[in-house]
Symmetry: D3
Subunit: 241 residues, 6 copies
């Protein structure tokens, strides 16, 4: 099985880190193809960065020769709907993956993300997925995305402090880490705070693998019908309106 794991930003060190996390989580026999667009923002911090990344994400889907499922490895689930039009293979965002797992492990979870400017886009996604009902609060740690890449950064400490506040103030029963760059913190934060701390990258890999193994495909009806003027390469499904 080949999973196309797309880091929508152009920071190659993040792509590598994400790819490594995905490989550790993947089942034996799963090949992880970790890629990022050639051009675009170096990090996604808000709606503008997000929008500028999407064509590059779609291009990777249209041009990668062969894959069984796609993981979109930015926590705002960059271009998720458009990507589902581009292929009938399963497409899983790391944000939604984290939310879905958190919903099955707790009554209510909080999200700890990077900057305040990213919060509305995540809240927007949660409303849309329906899972806003399960999320106590989306919290900003005020740690920029690329700071998480810097050795010696205080980022982990600030994220941990925000986890503590989520437990005390939101009565959160689980935490979803709101950035692919926080993937490495999950296990230690979970032990430290005594509750599930969920990284979306590994959740998305598991969901994508599961969907492939179960033979599930993205629907071709309605909103995810393939684009009329672009014939997707990776689509064996029938066309519907």
């Amino acid at each position: 099985m080949r999973l196309l794991v797309i880091n929508p930003n152009t920071t190659a060190s993040m792509t590598e880190k994400i790819g490594a996390a995905a490989r550790r989580a993947a089942a034996p026999g799963t090949e992880i193809i970790a890629v990022n667009p050639a051009a675009g923002p170096a990090a996604i911090e808000g709606y503008h960065d997000e929008a500028m990344c999407v064509p590059g994400v779609l291009d990777l889907i249209h041009t990668t020769p062969d894959f069984d499922a796609v993981v979109i490895a930015c926590f705002d689930d960059t271009g998720l709907d458009a990507a589902r039009c581009a292929t009938d293979r399963p497409v899983i965002g790391i944000g939604e993956a984290g939310y879905h797992f958190a919903s099955m492990l707790s009554n209510k979870f909080s999200v700890v993300t990077t900057l305040a400017r990213s919060v509305p886009a995540l809240e927007h996604n949660l409303v849309r997925y329906g899972l806003a009902a399960r999320c106590a609060r989306v919290r900003a740690s005020d740690v920029p995305v690329l700071e998480l890449e810097r050795p010696g950064s205080e980022g982990r400490g600030r994220v941990s402090a925000e986890v503590a506040r989520a437990i005390a103030e939101d009565r959160a029963e689980a935490i979803v880490l709101g950035c692919a760059g926080m993937a490495d913190f999950a296990a230690a934060l979970s032990r430290e705070h005594g509750l599930p701390v969920i990284d979306g990258v590994v959740c998305a890999v598991a969901l994508a693998e599961s969907a492939v193994r179960l033979g599930l495909r993205t629907t071709r009806l309605g909103g995810y019908a393939p684009p009329i003027r672009v014939r997707p390469v990776h689509d064996a499904g029938r066309l519907s309106g």
Copy 2:
């Protein structure tokens, strides 16, 4: 990995069918322990049957010697919250499993279940999970649960007719089959109607395996704290209020 797959009703033929479906879906190395309570309703059709099954489900969790995760294999996710108090291992209901996958493969799905009397309990679950926002309609096929077990039954035909109505009237982009006894129909109905038709049993197996592989546990904080007067056998987690 050992998955405890509990059919909450006492119909052994359903337990066998569910166990077989679970084994087909499971990864190599996963052992499926398919069980049902010794006493209780022969099928779950509505709130009363559901309530009568839960102590038996909890007893199986408390007494089964060793397992890594639990699947509750009735589509109303019988006793799901109570089961999550009984163990810190992941507990996945087949109803929620179907809804979560359908949410990642379509904009909007419909559910096709057995009798009208079961519809409100499913609607209740959807509201609670937050995924009511993603469900166009819960439809009854008027096929009783045990009729699905009868050779030569018209059940499959009636379910298929209801799938067709869901596409035409609800603009459903995917279908979730609303009974463990319909698991065998999924692939053929998907081909016939040209959209994802999702069986919760296999989805729940995949989610449970994934959670185990990722080291995720049910939270011990808040509503899923272990019961005060029952010391759960399968719980290594710390106790919290």
Copy 3:
């Protein structure tokens, strides 16, 4: 008129206290039959306790020779839906009774209950009843249920402190006491804090009496249809699917 008032837990002193409160609230001519199951948890603190009580509650409904309505006297409305399948007589939970009255006396109310572990089940009920829109917050006083039974307990003081916080922080215009064991506090807390403080037990008695006097019955259509494999004793209604 005979009201079957079921304390779902097995603590006889609570059953007596609940029965006494019900008798004080009942109209002349109403007989209160206060009972509890023979076996089960001594208190209901969270989902697991709740689930273990329900078969005992249903058994009391099926075997009590004659009654006109049922009151379920635990604030999580233990087994309410299943009980409505078991009889066509009105069945009223003390939680919903408190919420409905609070909705007619204030724009927004808060709930003060016992332990944090019980909060999600109450929030779940509120969402389902639709009345979450009217509830500012469900607050835990951290007083265990059985502590409320202990002479000299500090429970009342802690509940009062939480009422004060609900007024200040939630802008609550009324309070619903979230445990049958708090029934005795309502009048004094109302005088002390200058707002309606509502005990669900007496509200449920009044609603049950009202429904009986008005000739109202639980529907037999849809989700409350009688169970197929159990012929309820107390059901004169027609069967519907």
Copy 4:
């Protein structure tokens, strides 16, 4: 106990009918004071009629010498919020009364009212009360209010036909009759269609009597604080902001 039952419109025959229904429903010892404003619309069919009735309703509350609770006997709950500012006695609308009882007897109910122009005001109330979640649909029978007063009217037949449609199309498990003028139909329609058919007038009387017996009062905090420039006659409560 004295209940002030206010028919907000000026049609005396409706006031009499409402008063008679209230008296039949009331407990022994309850005095029903059925009144209507001296001036205003003859019937309430939509927002404009409703608004024109409210000052008359408030004037009746301010000038009636002595009462223990108020029932507002128009199904749109005319001026309910303002009336709750005008007195600390319980104030119950017949619309809300019907919805609250229907919510305790069924999973989902439909409303059958008079004209289409009245539907949005009822939907608005349901959203606000939170009980829109429990209402399948508000249906217009196209029978004007005053037609219900006319001997030999076809109104009852049209209401019955709409009840049948609510069962078939909305899967309604109970019906709330959406006009005080339909009170007389409830029992027969319930027998005819085999489900609870609920008249708000008698429900409101029962709720008002219950609140009085339980010593419950309308809150004086927040939105129902007494008006600053009008000293209410019937208000012993403290003033709060």
Copy 5:
């Protein structure tokens, strides 16, 4: 173009201030007819005041000889629905006007209004308009309406302090001022706090002018159908049910 700007209370100095603000905002050629009812409350602080003003508002609509649109210049949108039945010209409330503009300039806004007693009516409107989803919180500054009219009042300072709290605590991205009497503060508060601070009066004038220029009229179907027993003067539309 003639805009009928109705101050629903009887304080002439507020009517003048509102009229002046409206004239400054209006396009060249727009005539502002600023009026208030002859009798009624001097200020609107809660549901009771609001209800007492509505017949006067409707009377002004029915008797003003000629106008192209109506602005209702109290922040609780006094009698908005009834006014829309009274004329097919556009009718815009200053509350809704502020909310709609804030929704197009920010992800989430807070409201700063006068007294706590007015908050539930505003929350009620927000729920109904659908825009509660966009409002972080309705905050009371504890400044009475008429205090805003007093020279040397501390009102502006208290409103400013509440704006600061909305930014810090609610993460509000914009502020809507919740009283026509605060119109003069908007520009300075916006500069002071560095975010959009929106006055509903000028927004409503702009929306009313826009609707007139675009030839848009209030619907005559459904809930805004003209009253049956009052022939509106200003209504050229067809009658519908």
Copy 6:
């Protein structure tokens, strides 16, 4: 005043038609700069087309030398959030503009758009804006966008038939036309069907002009903070996180 009216697709004839409609609606002295991206999809029919247009839309905002507000003239409000990060000038989408006006002219409206594949994106927007509560249904007419450009097309007839169904089946009180290409139909359909039929293009022009005249700007706080790595040309506001 200069309004930048962006047609996000590359069909120049649509840009001209939109520009002409905008000029007819604009006040004297407003200059309409109607543009479209140089490259990208010829029409926007679903999520994939939408995503591919956004960078071109943002580029037009960043490079157009001088403007006072932006109108995004595709009914799915293509890239609206990202555009609001790109400038502190008001940015109005034609979809939201239509929904906001419809909410002030009716209790409930339906949308009539082009193809079924576009419906979920519009529903998604409505949920996010909060205005899903006001929308009865989003209906597809099955007329492709570019068919609306073809002389002699049957498009107008099919749209009219769908308007009739919205009135009969959805009880819609107003209609919002769900494509910029339908702008020319609005007035005639309104006369034909006797209810407001709203074109978003002219509504957005009016809202943009209004915001400019009132001195309102897009917030720079939170989700619409300017992008960190792109210094917007048209932004005088302070930077915030």
